[in-house]
Symmetry: C2
Subunit: 261 residues, 2 copies
């Protein structure tokens, strides 16, 4: 399928100037959304893509540059360009920000959490959840509660809310049987690609429930993280509230740092 595009909206009489590489990027994103290249697959070579879109290599590369910056694809010299996959590394670098205190070690004090699912229930979205998930109030959602441990001790209590419509036939068995990250499950089984997240943090006191599960006294300070996970074009796909015991761990935010995989 040849999606050749005009040499330049700029050349036309149009007043809305859209650079050619932005249009190429839009077409590439569209193909990614439609699943033309599934997660982990190689895109056609830059030469072929340039021919397909009828643009020069330089213009094609500029479009892919932006996709790389948004971590939608990754380039490997000598091998090709690939659709980014959700592996443990990507999770740790871009979506898991809890590190051991004082642990300025090799990985900045990061260790992999172990997850235990405490509950998995169906429910209906309240007004606030509906707004944040861009669905209607009362729509079916799945509510999942996970307890995450670091170094054997429970540290994080996660409450996850996802729209049922986006995850048809997702059962507790499938959810807990996964041998990889949750976002990997979303990606491989439902074609939903979590690309970035928006988080709001505050300090709260542990209620009886949280205290029991995190093995703390009621009234201990906890870090509360409200996350909205976003996919292509900032479509919300998951809400998550995390309660973190920051006695021995903390939340790391390195702003402006050049991130690399």
């Amino acid at each position: 399928m040849n999606q050749a595009i005009e040499p330049g909206a700029a050349g036309g009489a149009s007043n809305a100037f859209l650079p050619l590489y932005k249009e190429v990027k839009r077409l590439l994103t569209q193909s990614l959304i439609e699943g033309e290249w599934p997660a982990g697959a190689a895109l056609p070579s830059e030469t072929r893509l340039a021919q397909r879109f009828n643009v020069s290599i330089g213009t094609l590369r500029k479009a892919i540059d932006e996709l790389v910056a948004e971590r939608i694809v990754t380039r490997h010299q000598g091998r090709g360009t690939f659709v980014a996959t959700h592996n443990a590394n990507r999770l740790m670098f871009h979506f898991f920000h809890i590190v051991a205190k004082g642990g300025a070690g090799r990985d900045g004090g990061k260790e992999y959490p172990t997850t235990r699912t405490l509950s998995f229930r169906r429910g209906k979205a309240d007004a606030e959840e509906a707004g944040r998930l861009a669905i209607a109030a009362g729509d079916a959602v799945l509510r999942i509660r996970n307890l995450l441990s670091l170094g054997g001790a429970p540290v994080i209590l996660d409450d996850i809310v996802v729209p049922q419509a986006r995850f048809p036939r997702l059962t507790e068995k499938i959810f807990t049987a996964r041998d990889n990250t949750i976002y990997h499950l979303y990606q491989t089984r439902y074609g939903i690609n979590v690309l970035r997240s928006s988080e709001r943090l505050s300090a709260v006191l542990a209620d009886a429930d949280a205290a029991r599960l995190l093995k703390l006294k009621k009234g201990a300070p906890l870090l509360a993280i409200n996350r909205t996970a976003l996919s292509y074009r900032d479509t919300p796909v998951e809400l998550r509230r995390s309660l973190v015991n920051t006695a021995a761990h903390e939340y790391a935010s390195d702003l402006g740092k050049q991130e690399r995989d």
Copy 2:
């Protein structure tokens, strides 16, 4: 001064391949550190810079692309390329992450804080501070305590530590008389350009001191933010511990978002 460089380290017999644009970027950064173009000043045009370094425009632009991505310079079509300055906007977008809860308004609930300096003292760096500031334990430091208010109510208690050697003759009068942000003062008066920050967040309980100043009960939950502010080549220039009352505000972290000025 013509800093022409060889057409390519790649062309030599060297095994350590360094792209030409990286070398150009290094030379540009060096000139910025040495103050050849002070904050707010325009760099020479891309044509002139390309001639000066004896590279093509494309290569020169690729070097500047990275400086733009790191927010060290900003480009304005038709006007030129300028050394980024610390104004209120830059502070709010890149270094001040406290927003009003539920305030999904025009600026995402952001409002400008008003600052009151509570104390300004000389002291000596302890071992931990020395390590984080890359100075020797016992070196002279300045300790500054600020109380920040939002909407008229005190919300944030800041404790700042900076090496005295980097800020010669900085007095409380100069510090409190500034009519702009603290980082603007660092930049204009001391040529120290804060480029990014590394932050660690945890939840704590208010002690008597914090409770009194933030008008809270002792034992109320507070968000503690430990920040290291970094300049060129990740040189640390300031430590800051913030205690935030998150009753009506929260910390915003939009990871992976394409930031723009």
